[in-house]
């Protein structure tokens, strides 16, 4: 190989051996095994109340946290010591992009469930289409209406309005996207103070959002009789907003870590993949919320 090509070519960094993946695999296994036991134990469906599922689950969780810390620490160190070429950076970016695509599809499954239940199943149960007999023979009392506050089986609930807390939450998330964009621009322009302040503000907005959502859930369970068990309306409501909330939590932690790294001066205008990944993730969570707001709350 001539030295000429050697020079033009940035070496692609292939890490040496790492024990993090196998630690992660073990962690995941304990999480699943313990989690399964834990669920069965708490819901008591199979009478194995005595099992120690939660301990295994907790150990698994701890291992996962340990693994993530360690793994990311390695990556951060490698990145800071300049081992990563721009090609490597592209790998990370594309990886993140496809990861977010997969997340989109995860939500798509639940949105699909919601649409199917609302647009097709509910009218069918109410006797529309060629399903007149379903209504006549099985659910004669059922009156189709969305939000489905009374299920065919007779469970009743109240619907969550759109223009109280949810509207405020929408405003909060939209603002947070905007503050995060300001921060990102500041990063590119090398303006550290603005960057730090606005990143912190964004993370705070995330925390406020979560608090409000917890309050909303509390209201739903305590005062509105709206629970996971409230038929398909409750199921889709809590699963969609719940998984979204989980993602906001992850995104917020992401932003808090980014704030710390910003404070430590980790990022450069030309090398800040991690920050950008966090930002993408946040925007994705934001967009999901907009869909939620429209399809779960308003319509």
């Amino acid at each position: 190989m001539s030295t000429e090509t050697e020079e033009k070519y940035e070496r692609y960094y292939v890490p040496e051996q790492s024990h993090w993946p196998i630690v992660g695999a073990i962690g995941l296994f304990l999480l699943a095994f313990g989690g399964g036991n834990f669920i069965q134990q708490t819901t008591g469906k199979y009478g194995n109340e005595g099992s120690m599922g939660w301990i295994i689950f907790a150990i698994g969780f701890a291992i996962m946290v340990y693994m993530m810390f360690g793994w990311w620490k390695d990556t951060v160190r490698e990145s800071m010591s300049g081992l990563y070429s721009s090609q490597m950076d592209r790998s990370f970016r594309q990886g993140m992009m496809w990861f977010i695509s997969s997340e989109v599809m995860f939500f798509a499954a639940f949105f699909g469930g919601l649409f199917y239940a609302r647009v097709l199943v509910m009218p069918w149960l109410g006797g529309e289409g060629n399903n007149a007999m379903t209504h006549a023979l099985l659910w004669p009392e059922f009156i189709p209406a969305w939000p489905m506050t009374e299920t065919p089986g007779g469970t009743t609930t109240t619907a969550m309005g759109a223009f109280g807390l949810p509207a405020i939450n929408t405003a909060i998330l939209l603002t947070s996207s905007w503050t995060l964009t300001i921060a990102h621009h500041a990063l590119i322009q090398g303006n550290r103070n603005t960057l730090l302040n606005y990143t912190v503000i964004t993370a705070l907005l995330g925390v406020i959002f979560l608090c409000l959502q917890v309050y909303e859930y509390y209201e739903a369970y305590e005062h509105m009789g709206l629970t996971l068990g409230s038929g398909i309306y409750g199921s889709t409501f809590f699963m969609l907003t719940g998984f979204h909330g989980l993602h906001v939590t992850v995104g917020t932690i992401f932003l808090i870590v980014m704030s710390i790294r910003v404070a430590k001066g980790h990022f450069k205008p030309e090398n800040h993949f991690a920050y950008e990944a966090g930002a993408w993730y946040w925007h994705f969570v934001d967009v999901v919320w907009l869909f939620l707001f429209i399809f779960v709350y308003i319509l």
């Binding site: 149960l125 007999m133 379903t134 023979l137 099985l138 659910w139």
Partner: protein
């Protein structure tokens, strides 16, 4: 080389043998045409597709085998160099499209016909549950369960049983009886999991889904007995849930209806009398065992020890503690929602219920000595 050639020839013969046996050979290698208009049309469409596929296979594999034969290295040492041709590529995209369009036309027509259950002459509600069918004639006010004739316990299914019985696994205690030349609409649903109601010779297959009613129909011109099976995995005894349809000429069907209605009145009377009587332990245990082995043992096992998700009744608190008697009656009469334990109030008479509960409280070492009288069941039902 010679060996290789022989092997290829062997392969070709073998494959074409397999293929052609599918098409030419005796009827039991093929789908049965069935007896209804739609089943015959479905069969015809099936034959069309088989032939079309065989034709395409002959061409594609023909060309390929020729090439394997003629273009091997020993015969054709220098390969050609072409690597694409837009013309042939367009052609071999277009031809399949045309073939598929040709296949779609009859398929669409037939599909629309098969799915049109409107304007029926009569309707039957078919309900699947683990592992039996229930038929309810909407107009005639007749209803009954249809179980596999052999009780669903493992010991009853041996090779000899299959060899000695032409209709092994395809016989039921109560057949679905239908009149000939009548458009019958089936309204399918299920109590627990999804089942699927299939009679090949009528070309009717439709899922029975809990909470929904699916519609399908048939009109059978020729009287006879038509057998099928449940075709959706529905749990342990899924393979033991046959469908038997007996088609009678209209007049005989009418007689059957009358007979059934009389039987119903008589049975109600007998049940009431049985319930009014006081039973002694031996009678209850004898009847109880009969009922238990027929209806309960498929889940709870003959020895009462249960299996898998089906709990043991032997030693079960519910079946031995006096203060749980009420729960015991409750679960057998009303079942437990969301589990395979179904309500037996509609399937057994009060006497049978009393007998089976008594049996469970005294069999397999559950020696409570307690007796449940049919009257107690009646009182329980009334009290609810």
């Amino acid at each position: 080389m010679a060996i290789r050639r022989k092997l290829f020839a062997g392969l070709a013969v073998f494959l074409s043998g397999l293929l052609s046996s599918a098409v030419y050979a005796a009827a039991d290698l093929n789908m049965r045409p069935g007896v209804t208009e739609t089943s015959v049309e479905a069969f015809e469409l099936h034959m069309i597709v088989v032939w079309v596929m065989t034709g395409i296979a002959a061409v594609v594999f023909g060309v390929m085998f020729y090439s394997i034969f003629a273009h091997r290295k020993s015969k054709n040492p220098t390969p050609a160099t072409f690597s694409h041709s837009t013309t042939v590529e367009v052609i071999w995209t277009a031809i399949p499209v045309l073939i598929l369009i040709a296949l779609t036309v009859p398929a669409v027509k037939l599909l629309i016909k098969m799915e049109d259950a409107s304007n029926p002459d009569m309707s039957v509600v078919v309900t699947g549950s683990q592992w039996k069918w229930h038929y309810k004639y909407m107009e005639q006010d007749i209803e009954f369960f249809s179980n596999l004739k052999t009780p669903q316990v493992r010991e009853n299914f041996k090779l000899e049983d299959a060899q000695n019985n032409e209709n092994y696994l395809l016989e039921v205690d109560n057949e679905l009886v239908l009149p000939a030349n009548t458009k019958v609409r089936f309204l399918l649903t299920a109590d627990d999991v999804i089942h699927s109601w299939w009679v090949p010779e009528l070309a009717v297959k439709k899922d029975a889904i809990p909470g929904f009613i699916n519609e399908t129909w048939t009109s059978v011109p020729t009287p006879g007995i038509y057998r099928g099976q449940c075709t959706e995995l529905c749990g342990e005894w899924h393979g033991f849930m046959p469908v038997v349809v007996r088609v009678l000429p209209q007049a005989e069907f009418d007689q059957w209806v009358v007979k059934k209605q009389e039987e119903k009145v008589a049975a109600e009377k007998a049940a009431a009398e049985a319930a009014a009587r006081s039973w002694d332990m031996d009678k209850l245990m004898a009847l109880g065992k009969e009922v238990y082995d027929a209806k309960c043992a498929l889940c709870h096992q003959v020895n009462g020890e249960g299996a898998g998700t089906f709990p043991a009744l032997k030693g079960s608190e519910m079946a031995i503690k006096a203060d749980r008697m009420k729960d015991h009656i409750e679960i057998v009469v009303h079942g437990k929602a969301g589990t395979a334990m179904q309500a037996f109030s509609g399937q057994l008479t009060d006497a049978e219920l009393a007998a089976v509960i008594t049996y469970e409280r005294n069999a397999w070492g559950n020696n409570t000595g307690e007796i449940v009288q049919p009257a107690e069941i009646q009182a329980f039902k009334a009290g609810n």
